[in-house]
Every structure is written in C-alpha cells, then in structure tokens.
C-alpha cells in the first residue's frame, strides 16, 4: 500500500516530518517498508512552453527550440528529439539543475549553437520509463511552474505493509484514521454533495441478489452522458503516486475511491448490459467469462458472478468482464458498490490464480458503504448526470457489533495502570463508540463495520495497547514461585555424550531432515528394508528433498563428500537428529532420535613429531567405547552385523544388556563407489535407547590399599581366534585375584608361522584385603596358561 503524504493530509492535519510519521506508524502497528522521496533532483526543472522550433544550422538531427518558462526572457535550447511541436508543454532542466540520473546542466555549445538548458524525457527525470522522446506534459499545467510541484512530485510516499487483519488500513482514509488516533486529531472525510437529475435510476436498472450469503449488499447508481477521456492531472498524479496506472476518467475514479476509502467499485458500460438487469448469482457449470485482462476463464458453481439478463458480466469482487468494460465510446455508466463474503472471494481468487486490488480488499472484508463518493467524482471529472436514487439491495444487514470491555482486564493483561478515562479516550480516537456502564469499570464498545477484526474483548485490549504504545508499557518479570528451570536428566546425558564426542575429536554437523530416496539405493539397501519405509512429502521442492530421512548415514556421507571435493580430506563428524519411518495405521509416523557418526581421512595431518595416520575400524570403535564409558555402561557387547551398506568383515552391531542399540563399521566398497567417496567409517546408534541405558548413579569404588602383582604373558594362537575368546579364558581362570587384563601387543608376520598370531597380555593380580604372595599370582598364571593351551591350542611364548 502506497500512501502519498499530500493525499493523506487531505483528511488529517499533522506537522510531523515523514520520517517521524513513519516511526509513529511503525510503533503503532502499521509497518512502513520504505519512504520514497519524490522530486529529488528536480529542483531546477520547470514547465516550459515551446514557442518555436527551427532546424539547427550545422546538424540535421538537431533543432533549436525557443522555450517560454514564465519569465520575460525566453531560452534557446538545442534538442535532438522529434516528438515535440510548437505549443507543447515540456519539462525544462535549467542551468544548475542536478538531474536524478546524475546529469548536471551547464550552458553548452552544441555544434556552434549555445543551449541554455535541456528538454527532458521521463527517464531522464526518473518519473517514468519512457526514453523515446521528450516528456509531453498535460495541457492544463501552468507554464513556468516548478516541474515537481506542478506534477505533484514535491511529495513523499510511504510504502506500507498491511497485515491481513487490517483491511481498513488498505485505504488512505484508514491510514488517516490511524494518524488521527496517534496524534489525537479528528479526521475529515470528503463531504459528498450529489446533484441528481429528475430521471430515476430505478427506471434504468433492476438488481436481484440470488445468493445473499455470498453478497449481503449490492448498491448501484446510474450516470448518463459521461464523456470518457483522460483524467485531470491531479487525479492521474495521485493514482500514479499510489502505484496505479491511469486509464480513463471513469475507471480512474473507481480506482481513486478504492484507494481513498478501501471500497472496491466497478463501472459497467450501461448500454452493454442486456435488459438493464443486474443479477448476483453463482456461475453455472460451463459458463465462461473473458475478464478485462483479456483472459478467458472457465467458471463453476463455487464462483459468484454479476450477470445481466443473459450472461456473466463480472467475477464478483475480483474483476470485471470485457463484454461490459468502459471504453472510449461509453456514454452511460452503471456504478457498482457491493459487499461480498470474504471467504468466497479468497477461494475464487485462489482457484483462478487471479488477484486484484479489489479481491485483495474483499477477501479481508470491506466496509459496505461508499458508492456516492464515486458518483460525485465521476460527475465532476467526466461530466454526465447522476440519476435520482441509489439502488440498494441489502438483504443481509451488516450491523456494527457491541463488545463488552472491562478496564480491570485491560490492566491485568497489559500490566498497566490505565484509568477508565485513558481507555475511553484511546478507543474514541479509533472511532469506537464507548458506553460506560454507570458506576462500574465496565463498558460497551461499538465497533464500526470497517473494523471486522475487532470481535472480542482481547481485540480491544490490543487496540488500547498499540495506541498507548507498547514501549510505554512498564517492564516486569513474572512473579511466580512455580518456576524451576533446568535440564532434564535425559537432556543432561545427551549433552554429556555430545561433549564426549567433541572431546574425542568429532565435530557436530546439522543436515536436512529431508532426504533423497535414491541415496538409499546407493547404500545398497535391499527392497523391503525398513530404511525404505519412507515418509513422503505431498509437495516436495525437488526429488532430492522429497522424503524424510530414515537414516542419518547418507547425509553424513554427503558431508564427507562435500568436504573431500573441497580438498578437506580429514573429516570426523557426528550428528544427532531425527529419522522417520512410515507406519500404517499410526496417527503420526515413527520419529526417533539417532546419533550418526562418520569418519574419513586422518585425525591429524603429518606433524614434526608424528606422521599422519588414516582412521580405521578401531578409531571408530574407540569412539563407541568412549560413548559407552561416558554413559557408564560396562555391559555392552558386539555381534556380527550383516548389512549390505557395511564391509562384512569390519562391521558390528552394538548391544547393551542384549538390546540392539545400533551398528558401526566400514562403509562397503560398493557404497563408497556409488557415493564416490574415499574409505569411510560410519555408525548409527539409537540415541534415545542410549540415554535410557545410561547408568546415572555411579558409586565410589575403593582405591586399592594393597600392592598388586603384574605378570605378562605372550601366546601364539590361530589367527582366527578372537581376542574376546582369549580374554574370556584369562578372566574366568584368573578369578578372584585377577583385577585387570589388557592386550598390549599383537603381531603377525616375520618369525610367526603362517596362520598364527602372537598376542601379549598384561595381567594385574591383587587381593583387596592383604598383600598378595608371588606364588598366588604365579599359580593363577599357570591355571590360565593351562586352559589357554587346552581350549585354544595356545603356545606360550613367555
């Protein structure tokens, strides 16, 4: 919504500078997007009259004009344009002018002739886009007048953003009302004096409303013998400044009144209406209309039309029809002013993809009054006679509503100490009538029909708050004692896991919950796998973001790839985020929080003290172990995990207390190839289960008081014997004095027979209540050694 300040001042007096007005409007709920200063750079441009044009003696394409600018002496100006003739009024940039396009005007000799100024095009003055020739000004403009003033450009225009709840602000008068309320000034609306002819409108037209729910009111006037032509300058200028293109005097008046009052009007060429009938009805299936934008539109029963005796002549409240459009040949006018039901307008406008100034207002609700203002203006600017009487079909009256308001409630909600008088004063400034119930703090507030947004007491409280000024309300803090802030236990555990991951060298990433279903193919996931139970979007932006992710892995792989493609080869990341699975019969899809991990490259680059080492399975396992340690879980185990996305020999499923928590491992070479990334390690754990399994109450354990005995053993076993099996035996045979056992060396290759490996363990023996004797530890070692050789065929090396 564009509001020229000069137009606004027609209805309300104020002295504020535009910037201050903009501030005030902003702080009372009318958002000012920008302030446009018209006429900048036009200070030395005047309206000139061309008295003479003669050819330039030295240049075919130039002419020398003699221009009258309201001073005794005329100016000689050299000009190259061809569209001028003697008697034209044109903008003349005088010596010293600094035009908006940056040109500075100085006396100039052009091919031997001195030019004392410049005749300007629209584009040179930045008042329009026309570059084809000199801007020919309207005939009624005063010669010698400053151009900006004569063209109404000594003005400032506010660009407003009106929220959908305030249709009344889509009108200059509505804004004036706001300004009046802010500045405590009464506004003056245009006075309407109609001179009617003795002929009766009723003899010319009948109006019938077939669907009063969709059209509660339809009013019309008939104006005869108008002369269609261009609008006078003042009218055309105002429309232009408010962002509308002038068309002809009648259409311009309807638009002018639309901008002024917010009431959309439509003018029909009366003589094209069949049988002088206006019927407001739903469209019939199969009916068509060509709207004035030239587009043929198919109609259906959900749409409301204005019809004559035979056919639709307008899409009610949205756009008129070509068949009854006002043209240069029009002499008689039917002027419509109606109220259409907002939801129907919105639906039809959306269904047809047709938005207009008119529909934008109707769909938010307009004030169902206003036809006379337009009739008066048309008579003024297009001549013609207004026939006697206004046709007013009003089957469903829209009455102002009355709302109760409690002064105490106002202060309770706002935290203010407003008096009854303060409240009444603010409401009255907004043209709301207030009836205080005698002897109480309660009142009845009458809401005018132009404020359909005010329906409840709280709406009135908001009005009071914004006019009083949000920033004048004193600040406080809630006084409740019922508050107890903090993280829940689960949130604390989640945070501690996150900290541990970061301390382990992993950085957090965040990726879209939206995913590409084709990524699951790249992970080699078979048909029917739960990773394919996609929740699909009905209206995706693209295939890449068309489903909800069922796993974090592809997004993490893509982060690796994004970085590797940018020569960041060392990427160690985690993400904690939701994944989703479609499940039939549930109110909402399954949604789980997962912890995803992805590693590639080295932790550190080559350093002067150590060489870089690429991460492997055991780096990933180390991270998993760190997480287990962080949540205090000892009873976790691994088992073989066969998933096509992972390397079968380098992957595992993680269990805590026999519950599957997730999996980790090296990405399968096929998946690596499909994603085109280097060797990578990934993990995905169910984060909620992880938190559930956390041991939250760790207890102090005694620090040993007696010395321990450390014994190492090295064994030679078959290559296929897992470490866990060896440990199992050591632990069971070492009981009860074995405190700890640790693998400290693993060796295959030179000196070791093919198919064998050497494993060295460090064992710590201790008794909690006495100093252990050497023989006790050695006995235990013997038992362990015996069992290892019996069970595993282990050969003891040391």
């Amino acid at each position: 919504m564009l509001v020229p300040i000069s137009w606004l001042k027609d209805y309300v007096d104020f002295e504020m500078a535009p910037e201050e007005l903009a501030d005030q409007l902003n702080l009372t709920g009318t958002a000012v997007e920008s302030i446009k200063y018209l006429g900048e750079g036009l200070e030395n441009v005047r309206v000139g009259l061309i008295l003479d044009i003669k050819p330039h003696p030295n240049a075919d394409k130039l002419s020398i004009t003699t221009v009258h600018i309201g001073r005794p002496e005329t100016l000689e100006i050299v000009c190259g344009a061809k569209n001028i003739k003697v008697g034209d009024k044109v903008p003349v940039a005088l010596i010293g002018a600094h035009l908006p396009n940056g040109v500075e005007i100085k006396p100039a000799r052009i091919r031997g002739v001195t030019s004392y100024g410049m005749l300007c095009s629209q584009a040179e003055l930045k008042v329009g886009g026309d570059t084809s020739g000199i801007y020919i000004l309207p005939k009624d403009i005063e010669v010698g007048a400053p151009f900006a003033q004569a063209m109404g450009l000594d003005d400032t225009v506010l660009e407003l953003e009106i929220t959908p709840n305030r249709p009344d602000s889509l009108a200059i008068i509505g804004i004036a009302r706001e300004v009046g309320a802010i500045t405590k000034k009464k506004i003056h609306k245009p006075s309407i004096n109609l001179v009617e002819s003795p002929e009766k409108a009723l003899d010319y037209i009948t109006v019938e409303i077939k669907d009063p729910d969709l059209c509660p009111r339809y009013t019309a006037r008939v104006i005869r013998n108008v002369k269609i032509g261009p609008s006078p300058s003042w009218l055309a200028q105002r429309l232009q400044k408010a962002g509308m293109r002038p068309i002809n005097n009648v259409v311009d008046v309807t638009n002018y009144v639309l901008l002024e009052t917010g009431q959309p009007l439509h003018a029909f060429d009366y003589d094209t209406l069949r049988e002088g009938k206006i019927i407001v009805r739903r469209a019939r299936k199969g009916e068509h209309i060509t709207t004035i934008d030239g587009i043929l539109r198919e109609l259906d029963e959900s749409m409301l039309v204005i019809a004559d005796a035979e056919r639709p002549v307008a899409l009610a409240g949205i756009m008129g029809g070509k068949n009854t459009e006002v043209s240069s040949a029009t002499t008689n006018i039917l002027l419509e002013s109606a109220y259409f039901e907002p939801k129907q307008i919105m639906r039809t406008s959306r269904n047809l993809g047709l938005l207009s100034e008119s529909s934008a207002r109707f769909e938010k609700g307009v004030d169902p009054n206003g036809v006379d203002r337009a009739a008066q203006l048309i008579a003024e600017v297009a001549g013609g006679t207004i026939l006697e009487g206004i046709i007013d079909e009003y089957p469903k009256r829209i009455e102002p509503c009355k709302l109760p308001l409690r002064a105490n409630r106002v202060n309770e909600i706002l935290g203010t100490k407003l008096s009854l008088n303060d409240i009444v004063d603010i409401l009255e400034r907004l043209e709301l009538a207030v009836d205080v119930v005698t002897g109480t703090n309660e009142m009845w507030v009458t809401v005018p029909t132009f404020r359909p947004d005010l329906e409840r007491e709280i709406d009135l409280i908001e009005e009071i708050a914004r006019i009083y000024g949000y920033n004048n309300i004193e600040s406080s803090l809630p006084e409740s004692s019922g508050k107890q802030g903090g993280l829940s236990l689960q949130q604390k555990i989640a945070e501690s896991i996150k900290l541990r991951l970061m301390a382990s060298g992993l950085s957090e990433v965040i990726t879209y919950s939206l995913a590409d279903p084709r990524d699951i193919d790249k992970l080699q996931v078979p048909e029917g796998d739960s990773l394919r139970w996609f929740v699909k979007l009905m209206n995706p932006l693209s295939e890449e973001l068309s489903v909800l992710r069922t796993t974090l892995i592809p997004n993490l792989i893509k982060v690796l790839k994004y970085n590797v493609n940018r020569e960041q080869y060392d990427v160690q990341i985690f993400e904690i985020g939701h994944v989703f699975w479609h499940e039939e019969g549930k109110e909402l899809p399954d949604e789980e929080t997962m912890l995803g991990i992805a590693l590639t490259g080295a932790w550190k680059q080559d350093e002067w003290y150590e060489k870089a080492r690429n991460v492997d399975f055991f780096d990933l396992k180390g991270v998993i172990e760190a997480v287990m340690d962080e949540i205090g879980v000892a009873n976790w185990s691994l088992r073989q995990f066969n998933h096509p996305m992972l390397h079968p020999g380098r992957s595992a499923e993680l269990l805590i207390d026999d519950t599957a928590i997730g999996y980790f491992g090296e990405l399968h070479p096929s998946a690596e190839a499909d994603f085109d990334i280097p060797r990578a390690y990934v993990a995905e754990l169910n984060f909620n289960k992880l938190i559930d399994k956390a041991r939250v109450s760790a207890e102090f354990s005694e620090i040993p008081r007696y010395p321990s005995i450390d014994i190492d053993i090295a064994i030679l076993v078959d290559d296929l014997v897992p470490n866990s099996r060896v440990l199992e035996i050591i632990k069971s045979e070492g009981r009860p004095i074995l405190e700890q056992v640790r693998l400290f060396d693993l060796y295959k290759g030179k000196g070791i027979p093919e198919g064998k490996k050497s494993m060295a363990y460090s064992m710590t023996f201790r008794a909690p209540d006495r100093t252990l004797k050497d023989e006790e530890a050695l006995d235990a070692r013997e038992k362990i050694v015996a069992k290892l050789s019996k069970e595993l065929g282990a050969e003891i090396r040391a």
Partner: protein, 348 residues
C-alpha cells in the same frame, strides 16, 4: 704410621684432587679414597690405638681436623658440581619453543547448536525448562490449536510441506512438517496444567527454495510462560533480560505491534544495532534489527488446551536461530549452516 706432617701432605693432596674433580662420580671416588671405610684418613683414625697416649692425642686431633676439612671441602665441591651438572643438562635440553605444540584433537559444536544453547541457557536461568516435540506434526497442533484459520495462507501447499496421505487437504488430520516449534506449546499444555515455563528449540520447515536468506529447514526457539497474572509487561521484561544477556548489556529492544493468529496483543521485536546503537547505519538501515515475534497467548489457544483465560494468562515468543546466528556472527548465507564445510564448522 702417619705423622703430623704426613697428614698435612695427605690433606694437601686430597684438596688438590677435590679441586680437580670434574664430576660427581670422580668426587665420590676421592671421598672413598680418603674418607671411605678403608680410606686413608679413616685408616689413620683406626690405627690411633697403636700409638702412645701423647701421640694419639696429637695425631688424633690433626686427623680429625683433616677429616672435617675434607668433608667440608667435598660438600662444597659437590654443591658446585651439582649446579654445573644441572646447568649442563639445561643447556643440553633446550628446545625450539617456536615449534608447534602437540594439540589433542577436538571437535566443535555446530554454530546453530551453540546459539541454541546460549539462548536456552539464558531461559534456564530465568526458570524455564526445555521441551521438545516431533518434527512431523498434525495440522491440529501446528495450526488449528494455534488459532490459525483453515484458509490462512501459511497453511497452503505453497508454504507448508504436507505428508502424502489418502485424505484430502486441508483438515485437522493432515500431517505436515511443523512450520514452527509452537506446536510444542500445545503438546505441553495439553499434558500439564499451569504454571508452564518452557523453551522449545528445534527444527522447523517452510516450503522455501534455498537461497542466501531462505532454507526449507531452519531452527526456531519458542518460549512460553503461562501462569496466574502474567502481563504484557512481563513479556517485555523477559525479552529485555534475554536481549541483555544474549547481545550485551547496552542493547535496547523495541516492540512493534504486529499480527499473529496465536497471540494477542502481538509484537515484532527489534534489538538496537550494535554498530550504530539505534541511530541507523548501513548494516541495519533503521537502527533496529528484527529478532523475534512475540505476544500474549490468545485466549482461544488457552481454551483449546483446557485452560481458563480468566484465571491464567501467558506470553509466547519465537525466534529464528539462523537469523540470530547470522546477525551475531556475520554469516552471509543461511545455506552455509547446512553445507557443513569443515572450514566453517571448525570456526566456532
């Protein structure tokens, strides 16, 4: 047998040897040679018994004196040699302190997570708890219960991602990607009675094609306080406290009336520009930067969750985390948050 003269010569020899000793080991050898169990001085002292009483007295005196002197000399020399030895070690062990240190590897928190944590920590300090909810929501929680009419433009297929289903759009049973974290409000209030003081951080979705200022997914932090006697002034005070802690003591806020379906009165909240402090500059334009939307919880919302608006009132506010992160850290493009370029991630 040693004479007095002999002892004195012995002392001179020993003194000389001590003087010349170049390290502690050599010095120790000298000590053993003279003062050890079989040392020269020790032998003299041991053989005193074979002498006459006069001789014993005289030689004994001299020998003891020599022993004492040697002990002192050795101790002094020992001290000197120790000092020298340490000096030598220090000289030997000097490193190039300009070589880089061995840093433990560490990871970084994502900037968005960091900003969320900063925000939530402030509200935890003000007595709020963190609440969470699903990213896929029922229309009911996302729109209807929040007083958003069926024909509200935000509910259109243009603006909101809907989940594919049999039923026809729009209805309360529609499933969608939540467009804000406000549905968490409804879920919490439906579960518990007042008082409620919660902060709800999380992901939200709008059907925007990614560009420097738009992202189909972004993060929001929503706050809600419902209690007896909560006022608009409380909302202002709370946001002022938040602003001071988040952006700095000297930052101001400004509330502008606005329209949201689920709050009334509603406001957009600006924070004064850090550069020009509200005067207006090239960064902010007007001196103010919009950071959040807020308002008093609409009575319709309270009634929807079974609260009595005559008994309790509340305020709610919501802020876009990316926007705040962009303002605070000067991040020029919202897409950078989701590219996860390590050179970006590792900066914060």
């Amino acid at each position: 047998m040693a004479s007095r003269m002999g002892l004195e010569i012995m002392y001179e020899e020993a003194k000389d040897a001590i003087e010349k000793a170049s390290d502690l080991r050599e010095l120790d050898q000298i000590r053993i040679e003279y003062l050890g169990k079989k040392g020269k001085i020790t032998s003299v002292l041991k053989s005193l018994g074979k002498l006459s009483p006069e001789e014993r007295k005289e030689i004994g005196l001299v020998a003891n004196k020599v022993r004492q002197n040697l002990e002192t000399d050795i101790a002094e020399k020992q001290e000197e040699l120790s000092r020298l030895e340490i000096e030598r070690r220090l000289a030997l062990e000097s490193v190039d302190i300009t070589l880089p240190g061995r840093q433990p590897v560490f990871g970084n928190r994502h900037l968005i997570a960091k900003v969320i944590q900063d925000i939530t920590n402030i509200f935890i300090g003000l007595g709020y708890k963190i609440a969470e909810g699903p990213e896929i929501e029922l229309d009911y929680y996302n729109f209807k219960a929040l007083n958003t009419p069926a024909d509200h433009p935000a509910r259109s297929l243009q603006d909101t991602f809907y989940i594919k289903r049999e039923s026809i759009h729009p209805s309360d049973n529609d499933i969608l990607l939540r467009t804000h974290t406000s549905p968490v409000q409804i879920r919490v209030m439906k579960k518990q009675g007042p008082p409620v003081y919660i902060i709800a951080p999380g992901k939200a979705f709008r059907r925007d094609v990614p560009d420097p200022t738009h992202s189909p997914m972004f993060h929001q932090v929503e706050g809600l306080a419902v209690d007896k006697g909560i006022t608009f002034g409380d909302l202002k005070g709370t946001l002022e406290e938040f602003t001071r802690q988040m952006f700095g003591k000297d930052r101001q806020i400004r509330l502008r009336p606005h329209f949201f379906p689920f709050t009334e009165p509603s406001a957009e909240v600006d924070v004064s520009c850090a550069v020009c402090r509200g005067a207006g500059c090239r960064i902010c334009g007007t001196g103010w930067l919009e950071i959040l939307g807020a308002g008093m919880v609409d009575p319709n919302v309270l009634m929807e969750v079974g609260y009595n608006p005559e008994e309790v009132s509340g305020f709610a506010f919501g802020m876009g985390v990316e926007r705040i992160a962009m303002l605070m850290y000067g991040v020029p493009d919202i897409r950078m948050f989701f590219d996860n370029d390590m050179r970006f991630v590792k900066q914060f």
